[in-house]
Subunit: 349 residues, 2 copies
Amino acid sequence: MGERSRGVTIADVAAHAGVSQASVSRVLNGKQTVDPGIVRRVQASIAALGYAPSAAARSLVHGRNDTIAMVVPDLGNPLFQGILQGLSLAAAADGYRVLVADTAERVDEEEATALEARHRCDALVLCAPRMPETRLRRVVDRVAPVVVVNRHLPGADVPIVGVDYVRGIRDLVEHLHGLGHRHLAYLGGPPSSASNAERLRGVEEAVAAHPEMRIDVHPGGSRLDDGYEAAETVLGARERGVTAVMAYNDLVALGLMTRLRELGVDVPGDLSVAGFDDVPMARFALPRLTSLSVPRGELGAQVWARLRTLIAGGPVEHTVLYRPRLEPRESTAPPPATATAAAAGKDRA
Amino acid sequence: MGERSRGVTIADVAAHAGVSQASVSRVLNGKQTVDPGIVRRVQASIAALGYAPSAAARSLVHGRNDTIAMVVPDLGNPLFQGILQGLSLAAAADGYRVLVADTAERVDEEEATALEARHRCDALVLCAPRMPETRLRRVVDRVAPVVVVNRHLPGADVPIVGVDYVRGIRDLVEHLHGLGHRHLAYLGGPPSSASNAERLRGVEEAVAAHPEMRIDVHPGGSRLDDGYEAAETVLGARERGVTAVMAYNDLVALGLMTRLRELGVDVPGDLSVAGFDDVPMARFALPRLTSLSVPRGELGAQVWARLRTLIAGGPVEHTVLYRPRLEPRESTAPPPATATAAAAGKDRA
DNA sequence: CTGTTAGCGCGTTCAA
DNA sequence: TTGAACGCGCTAACAG
């Protein structure tokens, strides 16, 4: 590892300064009181030799690394990127670095990756783990200290930081309902995504609360292309009366809007579209995309706060869920008059 | 670090299996030939005790970590995110993990961060370092093995992986010239960005090659907002005859297009706009954004290839520059007739 | 083929 | 206050 020119050790410094290794160590850590004269000589020797303590040796002695690992299903996801950035900055403030482990959505490698990553770090962040719950519980037990992001684990002894997707979707449905929409479509995300399941729960709750509404669920995806390719599906839905579409996330929504525009469908004139995450681009789209804002960096910082407590031997802090903030923009508007009339007609039928 | 239940060591395994630590070690690493009977017993004990070797101890004895660090000025930059992802995946294939260190554009902390990060890893990636060249050379000498991304360092003993921004800009100018544009504007990026300086060089070369052309340089930035806020500047330039704008990157271009649209300026009807990087969103913008494609993941993989060679004691491989591929899309078109006439008039004057 | 021994570089007792 | 000695957990020599 970081050996300088040829591996100058604490022994070299001690010899150069004419003192014992112990003294050098003391000066280095400033723990005990050391004779000022010794201190100066040691510091001089350190500078002269360009010495820096071996991180590996320290790790062995201390049993820690000052490094944490973040396991994520897809580093290309803006949400995870934001969390990583927030986590990295927050941890750095406490002298910790972050190791990334991208499982590239290979669910069956997640467990091994997590164990391996944990093994070389002091703690772990499992970001939106895709693995089945039983397995996850087992993993979580073995890799503590650990914080889980965006996944429920009732009763488990783990801090959880996440987003209240149920509320988010419900808020969004309220917004669309308020605009007059009664027949919606939801474009789902990756099947193994727990946060997608949460969104679906939001959909169910919303329908339960508004029996006069109907929300169809269609397969979607998580990236721009997925949304782009879902346009045909959406148009089919529209023919069956859907007036607004909620996408799994902004990327899907943006891709969808692009394709709709190509096909001559006016958003929000003919169809309303909304996303999730409020990525920076959402504000800059045409039309500006209605979305649910999620504090990505803040999530990362919160993860670190919980992890730090755990590392310090503190208790498992409470789950914290951020409520997405609805950002109503141009892409959602009242349904077209024709659709309203049709719906009214259906009601009468 | 990753101690299991209570720190079960190789000694415990040896005792449990009734053999020496050395034998356990041999079984673990499969280096030498070991009696099949021993192998079975050791493996049984390992399983029984749930033993896993200490990464710290291994590091100490081997002098390596199987970890590399990537220092980056801004984890929020899509280019760096893509490189990180590519690097992480490529390195993982060889059993290496990546540590991230985001300096948040604090140039004066870059050196210390690099040294610190290097000290706990086997090698370093300096991604678009902002620090002055003198300092960079010094750092690069001290942290080897290291690979530098997106920065020239003539004569230095370091592999460099980057993008040929000069060619990129020149290709883009050719494209615009071919469309009939003669008066362009360039929206610059962060002042400390070396790749911005390269782009500027491309601008100069292009002008030298086309004396009939003129390219104004304006301050810009690197994010969506920067482009959004540059719209007024761009409109001013347009009044002075500019018919096409090249932005530092796609984010700036996209932000700019959004604002222009708000202001009723038609792209590319009134003004052509082009970006750099070809982020996924470029293809989905309205109009689709002409950009210069940069293989982000491939860059990361190439960085790892060079770093791996270095770690293995191999030579400093040659610099590799990827030539951006022009992706002509809707946002660039021939200049408006009025502008052409005006330019022609100016020519005659 | 196996066990014994000696470090890797550092922190931390324990005497002096 | 300082120094000598030991141990962290593992691998790599060297004998047997």
